[in-house]
Assembly symmetry: none
Homo-oligomer: 240 residues x 2
Amino acid sequence: MTVPASKTPVWRSIADSLKREIGDRHYVEGEKLPTEARLAERFGVNRHTVRHALKALAEDGLVYSRRGAGVFVLARPLDYPLSRRVRFHQNLMDAGRLPGKTMLSVERRAASDDDARRLRLEPGQLVAVSHSLSFADETPVALAESRFPEARLPGLADALREASSITEALGSVGIEDYTRRTTRLTATTATTAQALHLQTREGAPLLLAESLSGDGDGMPVEHGQTWFASERITLTLNHA
Amino acid sequence: MTVPASKTPVWRSIADSLKREIGDRHYVEGEKLPTEARLAERFGVNRHTVRHALKALAEDGLVYSRRGAGVFVLARPLDYPLSRRVRFHQNLMDAGRLPGKTMLSVERRAASDDDARRLRLEPGQLVAVSHSLSFADETPVALAESRFPEARLPGLADALREASSITEALGSVGIEDYTRRTTRLTATTATTAQALHLQTREGAPLLLAESLSGDGDGMPVEHGQTWFASERITLTLNHA
DNA sequence: ATGTATAATATGTCTAGTTGTATAGTATAC
DNA sequence: GTATACTATACAACTAGACATATTATACAT
């Protein structure tokens, strides 16, 4: 259900943060750290909490303080927490176009009010719903649920079941050209089921892209949600 | 001592009561609720029962609590368009929200290898580093850490400290026009410190946008990371 | 230049109050 | 029996403000 609550006190994470910065030479030996008040502002905590963190650093012999003057760097830590950013650097431009895609299921069902509004159908008309899993080099990176206006594009559900790609399936029902209209991005955490598919842990950060695609005339042809395993993938936008 | 046998638990009716009061603007955005102890007194229950009710409100995103400080009222979610020319203030005002930004800290320090590569400096040259927090109607929505090539734009750190916006600060050192070159999007979960700033819980989903902006000639002027409180904001891409 | 008074900053200490968490216990409903 | 709802107590973690004390920066007189 919930992410295992790490019970690291705030002051400790602040201490680690400063330790890392000293280790990375953001502050050099002899240099004065920002004042307690500024650090408190920066970390969004009370001055006393910062003092607690600084006390820990002082006890480690990393800094020392002089009343009225400031806090100064004494030495670098022998070892400090490694910087995060150990990431898979997978570049992809367009959400949902990845090599390696497995169709998990394709169903036909009546459009919900929401589906109908987005796909410009009447509630109750048929929509094709597909669930799919995308891979990059055998590793699952994205889980998608897409809805198509089956009522307007009869035979699409069957085509989706047989075709090897969405583009191909759409082509077989007469849509030669479809483009993404909008994408809305948020972050979520993985449910149990999502974690299973994406081979990650429950509560892992996921990037959720909700998209709407249309044909050349702007008529919607697909509306769906794609969950990316954020630890394995990065969406890159080139504002060219 | 006799409690009337009702089907709904006491904590739920307390939650409903508070919910109604917040809805009725009895308590406004950002305002602090009475302490748990006082609420317990007022409703004639144990503090833990009040806590149970407050937990429900927090899960609905209505309130947020800070240990040692109190419980505060939050605001509603909103949409945030991502485009080449990122103008936070304009976007929020278009959405009918009152934008705000507070500079948490501005420092100058030596560029790390990573900073240097991205900003096209030599390692060790000066970079200006700012931490800032953006608001919509008093509710924090984004936390940012930005790095600027101070070596190439002397005086920028001071300008950032005084100016009311990044655009203004860059303008004062001769950068009239800057645009976003790339944005990389991932999802993460909130660390303790991030949760504090964004007034959310530890482990809450965050949308992380890493961006690189350049001037008219393509020379980098800013490189930074922005963490969006995903429960309060959605990034929207218009593939126009 | 040098010394001095003064204001502004910065850290040190103290008191009080608030939320977070852990543990234990009681009554009631199913 | 065993959850569920609630009470009771204690302590940890953090905030908030006030004030003392040490240091630095500034202005000014000499």
